[in-house]
């Protein structure tokens, strides 16, 4: 039955739920009048912070809850930090655009927190059905959030595309769960990972089918080729804070959920699975990077870059699932997720600062003259872009370094090689904004560049500083991640 420890595990979620409900309640009891955005956001942030503290208080814990439906371990704690952090930044960015969000702002925050709860559920799930629920909660809230944007055409289109494809992928995912349930007899992840080897060795076709569908269902959420097609469109059409949240928190949680599923040496029984996933990883990197080169819209560039990064992270996942050393791979995946999230938040923060109109975003060429008008922003963005490109001594470099390291440790030379080639390609488009910012003659003053949003600016500068600082001293972070991953149930 429900014990205190169960409540403790879900305490962050409860706190979030309460914190998100308060503004809505205020609204309800205040005859449907919108509370001040500041109040709304304060509750949300408070909730996030409180959730963070609650999580921190459980950092040493490793336990399951609710009849093994949830598991709280280091990986979960670490992921929770990331998700909460991303959510906090996203909400702060939304606050910067409060004039465009003013109506229904409390609902928006509420839904945002809803998706955070869903994300946390996904993150902590120890049961595929909980995973599914988490994904759905997260996604459904996000669909609505996207559609609630003031922007007419693009956001509706983005929302609907995401919705249809997401539901489609959910069905696939669910089909996979059904097959796994049928073959394993349970949907609990530990039960599944325990039987993976046996089922794969026996060539249980249903299980093959199930695990394949399951992975592909996950793959949709983290935009692995060929399930990535929604990504650029949806990222572009969504309000930037939502995009930032999707690109960081959702991805982080999904990847961690995948890590949980992949936590078994049994996968080594089927090398074909590995080569199939490797192909997907390679294709993802390639498609993401090459398509990004041709983009004009900065948000689309980042969307494709996010696709490409999923490809890189896949390398780590493959190493975790099919290598000899799950721990080291998982550590690196988490580390990479962290670095990726930091950089992505920073870059989306810049878009949030500069974009004229939600959804339309800004083109790379619009950045012309940024160095003159907002030198600090320009510098911060440049740092982040170099970090994304993997130039040392930034966080991005150490992320890539450790990721390729894991690949080589597990003898995944081809993946590492492709990763490197793709990194080179990526340099091209990451540096294009830098070229525009610094190297084009800014004779024509671009009055367009109106920077709004103090919090987003702070976010940008903060993340930029973080990339450099952690890049220079990555050891403590790495140690933290290591401790987190090793603290596993």
């Amino acid at each position: 039955m429900i014990a205190l420890k169960d409540i403790l595990v879900v305490a962050p979620m409860l706190v979030l739920l309460v914190a998100s409900l308060i503004p809505v309640m205020i609204k309800v009891f205040n005859s449907n009048r919108e509370p001040a955005p500041f109040v709304t956001i304060a509750y949300s942030i408070l909730g996030l912070v409180a959730a963070g503290f609650l999580t921190a208080s459980m950092s040493g814990v490793k336990q399951t809850a609710f009849s093994d439906a949830l598991v709280l371990d280091g990986m979960g704690v670490w992921g929770t930090y990331l998700v909460l952090g991303s959510a906090a930044f996203a909400i702060m960015m939304a606050y910067d655009h409060v004039d465009t969000y003013k109506r229904l702002f409390s609902e928006k925050c509420f839904l945002m927190m809803g998706s955070v709860i869903g994300t946390l559920t996904l993150l902590l799930s120890n049961d595929l059905i909980v995973t599914f629920l988490g994904i759905e909660t997260m996604s459904l809230c996000i669909y609505i959030l996207i559609a609630m944007s003031r922007e007419e055409v693009l956001s509706k289109e983005a929302s609907f595309k995401y919705f249809v494809l997401g539901s489609f992928a959910s069905a696939i995912f669910l089909y996979g769960i059904a097959m796994i349930y049928g073959t394993v007899g349970s949907t609990q992840i530990p039960a599944i990972t325990a039987k993976v080897g046996e089922l794969l060795t026996n060539k249980n076709h249903l299980f093959y089918f199930g695990i394949g569908m399951l992975i592909l269902g996950f793959a949709f959420k983290v935009s692995i080729f060929p399930f990535h097609f929604w990504t650029p469109d949806v990222y572009q059409g969504s309000p930037t804070p939502i995009t930032a949240f999707m690109a960081t928190a959702v991805k982080t949680a999904t990847f961690i959920a995948m890590l949980r599923v992949f936590q078994s040496t049994g996968y080594q029984a089927e090398p074909k699975l590995m080569s199939a996933l490797s192909w997907l990883a390679v294709m993802t990197m390639t498609v993401g990077n090459t398509a990004a080169i041709l983009q004009k819209n900065f948000k689309r560039v980042l969307a494709y870059s996010s696709v490409a990064h999923s490809g890189y992270i896949m390398i780590g996942l493959i190493a975790a699932a099919f290598g000899d050393n799950y721990d080291s791979a998982a550590i690196i995946v988490l580390f990479y997720l962290f670095s990726y999230s930091i950089m992505t938040l920073g870059s989306f923060a810049l878009i949030g600062i500069l974009e004229k109109k939600v959804g339309v975003g800004l083109n790379v060429d619009d950045l012309k003259g940024l160095a003159k008008k907002h030198p600090v922003l320009a510098a911060a963005l440049t740092v982040i872009l170099f970090s994304l490109a993997g130039v040392p001594p930034t966080l991005g470099f150490f992320g890539k370094f450790s990721l390729f390291g894991v690949a080589i440790e597990q003898d995944l030379y081809w993946l590492a090689f492709w990763g490197v080639l793709n990194s080179v390609v990526s340099v091209y488009y990451y540096l294009r904004p830098v070229v525009v910012i610094y190297m084009t003659e800014s004779d024509e003053t671009s009055d367009e560049l109106v920077a709004t949003g103090g919090l987003a600016k702070a976010t940008l500068v903060f993340t930029a500083a973080l990339t450099v600082i952690i890049g220079l001293a990555s050891s403590p972070l790495l140690e933290m991640v290591r401790a987190a991953v090793l603290n596993r149930h």
Partner: protein, 662 residues
């Protein structure tokens, strides 16, 4: 063994010109030609005196075989020791005296010659710098040091040829000289490397002591043969032999004293000097010797024939120089290193004399160099005429002037040496005939006959003493210089039976070819007679042609039209070089640039980039915005992934059958 005093003297000897260079070089804008010239001449003179002081030590009983001076270790790496040390032995003694002596005279001459120039100080600085480098070349105890001087003189030659650089032609001539020399230098380097790889040392004495016991190589690819050939390539560059002689005639673009000093008396003989220095090595490579001899003979004849038709007074002398250098190489090639040295010295005297004489003429004629516009200058410039006359006799080889002795010795060795042959002699003989002819022609057109210039406008005049004194001194040397090497057959009939002093002096320092000499004293007399008489005959013919019956020249010219065109245009060697070597290289380089860099490497980069962009645009095409298409890709992805997992290609049929049959 070298006392500190020797080092002191060496320091003076070598540093004096350097100091002169610095003194003039640092005030290079000055137009005070007298001061500059004085400094430079004093520097050269100091060198000469120091050289003399050192050379004096070699004389007398119990005198050392060589005076050496070590200064410091220049480079020293793992077995490669390159000390800065100098040596004056019996070979370099000759050379150093010639260089500093003749050099001083030419410096002196230059004071007058350059008096009207805009940048005399610079000129004298260069001249001193040249002297410094030349001394390094001569005195260096190892090949590296010699190479330093070797390149250094090339550089100075470049600077001095292009001294009047505003003229594109002259600048081009300088560059041509340097580059051609560089080709030779590359050979020199390779030769050096070959020697180092073979003997592990680059010191002359060490190499010579190491080759001492070795047997002669018979093939073409032995290390010594290769080294010798490489070094000879270096020599052909510096000493203007086939195929690298082309720079020397063009080098006449420089001021005339420079031509006298660098391009006649000293620098161009460096190749000969180097071979003589390494004669124990060369003698072990008979095939290389043969090459040297043939090249030398060929150059002697070829250059002489070109000389027959030239009208530029300096060009004639230049080709003559090339030809005479050919004689020296012929001598080296047949193993007559002593004869080569002998000719080197006498040639330095008379050719410097003639160049200075021509300089005097040009100076007097207000920079006119075309001998067709001269004539009858004897009466205007008697002293110049007189000294030039001495030089003329010396070069065409009439006894008892210097040229006779040295050239005849070479011809004799070409015939009699174990390495010699009658063909080599014949080549030398023909060359001698041509030499006599073109030199007489030069005399005739310049000094004899009627003036062909406008006497009202041009007033040829004798120059001042600074220019005439060197002429006189050199004329004397040209006249008597030959007596240092009187052939035995002549010495025997002379009172007091003077021996061949030079041969004695060089004995033990140069290699002597092993094997039997052919020919006898009678033969030597006969050949001597032949060469003297052919020289005389040629001279008389030329005199007849150009003074008595100038019309004959035209007739001969017309009769042999094509041949004349060919020779007059220097066998079109320059043109051929340009068309067949230089242009192809330049065009080839452009093509390389265009094809390799631009069209291949960069293109490859672009193609790679385009490929990436192609993939990207394909990905973008797929990104059609159509939701259902995305869903299709998802479905296809699922299908593909699962099909791969199930190895569907192999088991598709089975699977379907069971699916429907089950």
């Amino acid at each position: 063994m070298a006392s500190s005093k020797a080092e002191f003297l060496f320091a003076i000897l070598i540093l004096a010109p350097l100091l002169g260079f610095l003194a003039n070089g640092l005030r290079w804008k000055s137009k005070n030609y007298m001061l500059a010239g004085s400094i430079a001449t004093a520097a050269a003179g100091t060198s000469f005196i120091a050289a003399l002081a050192i050379v004096m030590r070699l004389f007398g009983e119990g005198a050392p075989k060589a005076v050496t001076a070590d200064f410091f270790q220049w480079i020293s790496i793992a077995g490669l020791e390159v000390p800065v040390s100098f040596v004056i032995d019996h070979i370099s003694a000759l050379m150093v005296l010639v260089v500093t002596g003749v050099g001083t005279l030419i410096h002196l001459f230059s004071i007058g010659y350059m008096s009207h120039d805009e940048r005399p100080t610079k000129y004298f600085a260069y001249l001193n710098l040249f002297l410094f480098n030349m001394l390094l070349l001569i005195l260096g105890e190892n090949l590296v040091l010699m190479f330093v001087g070797w390149e250094g003189v090339g550089l100075c030659s470049y600077l001095l040829i292009g001294f009047w650089f505003t003229d594109k032609e002259k600048a081009a001539a300088g560059m041509k000289a340097f580059v051609t020399n560089r080709i030779g230098d590359a050979g020199f380097l390779l030769g050096m490397f070959m020697l180092f790889v073979t003997f592990g040392s680059l010191g002359f004495s060490e190499i010579i002591s190491k080759v001492a016991g070795l047997a002669a190589e018979t093939g073409w690819t032995g290390p010594i043969t290769l080294a010798a050939l490489f070094l000879f390539v270096g020599a052909t560059g510096k000493s203007a032999q086939i195929p690298l002689y082309v720079w020397l005639p063009d080098a006449m673009a420089g001021p005339t004293p420079v031509s006298a000093l660098i391009h006649a008396a000293t620098m161009v003989t460096a190749g000969v000097y180097m071979i003589v220095r390494l004669s124990p090595l060369f003698i072990l490579a008979p095939n290389a010797m043969m090459v040297i001899a043939i090249i030398g003979a060929a150059t002697a004849v070829l250059a002489a024939t070109i000389g027959l038709t030239q009208f530029d007074i300096k060009k004639v002398l230049a080709y003559s120089t090339v030809s005479q250098l050919g004689y020296m190489f012929l001598a080296c090639g047949v193993g007559a290193f002593g004869a080569a040295m002998f000719h080197l010295v006498t040639h330095a005297f008379f050719k410097a004399l003639m160049f200075l004489g021509s300089g005097s003429v040009i100076h007097g004629m207000h920079e006119e160099q075309d001998i067709r516009k001269m004539g009858g200058l004897a009466k205007y410039m008697p002293l110049t005429y007189l000294t030039f006359f001495v030089g003329w006799i010396a070069i065409i080889g009439l006894p008892p002037f210097a040229g006779f002795f040295s050239k005849d010795e070479i011809l004799w060795f070409a015939f009699s040496s174990p390495h010699g042959s009658v063909w080599l002699w014949l080549a030398g003989f023909v060359g001698a005939a041509c030499t006599a002819f073109y030199m007489t022609r030069l005399m005739a057109l310049t000094f004899w006959g009627k003036p062909r210039f406008d006497e009202h406008h041009t007033h040829p005049h004798e120059a001042g003493p600074s220019m005439t004194i060197p002429l006189v001194v050199l004329a004397i040397l040209s006249a008597v210089g030959g007596f240092m090497g009187i052939p035995h057959v002549i010495g025997e009939i002379l009172p007091g039976h003077p021996g061949n002093w030079l041969e004695h002096w060089l004995h033990g320092f140069i290699a002597v070819p092993a094997g039997e000499t052919h020919g006898s004293a009678v033969m030597e007399w006969i050949l001597m007679g032949l060469s003297v008489s052919i020289a005389g005959l040629s001279a008389i013919t030329a005199y007849f042609f150009y003074v008595k019956e100038p019309s004959v020249v035209e007739r001969v010219k017309n009769r042999m039209g094509r041949l004349h065109t060919l020779v007059y245009n220097k066998y079109f060697v320059d043109e051929i070089y340009f068309a067949k070597i230089i242009d192809p290289i330049v065009n080839g380089s452009k093509a390389l640039w265009a094809f390799v860099d631009v069209n291949f490497i960069d293109r490859a980069t672009f193609v790679a980039g385009d490929l990436v962009k192609g993939i990207g645009s394909t990905a973008r095409t797929l990104q059609s915005g159509n939701l259902q298409q995305y869903a299709l890709f998802i479905a296809l992805g699922v299908v593909g992934f699962l099909a791969f997992l199930f190895e569907l290609r192999a088991s598709l049929g089975k699977l379907l059958m069971q699916a429907f049959g089950g």
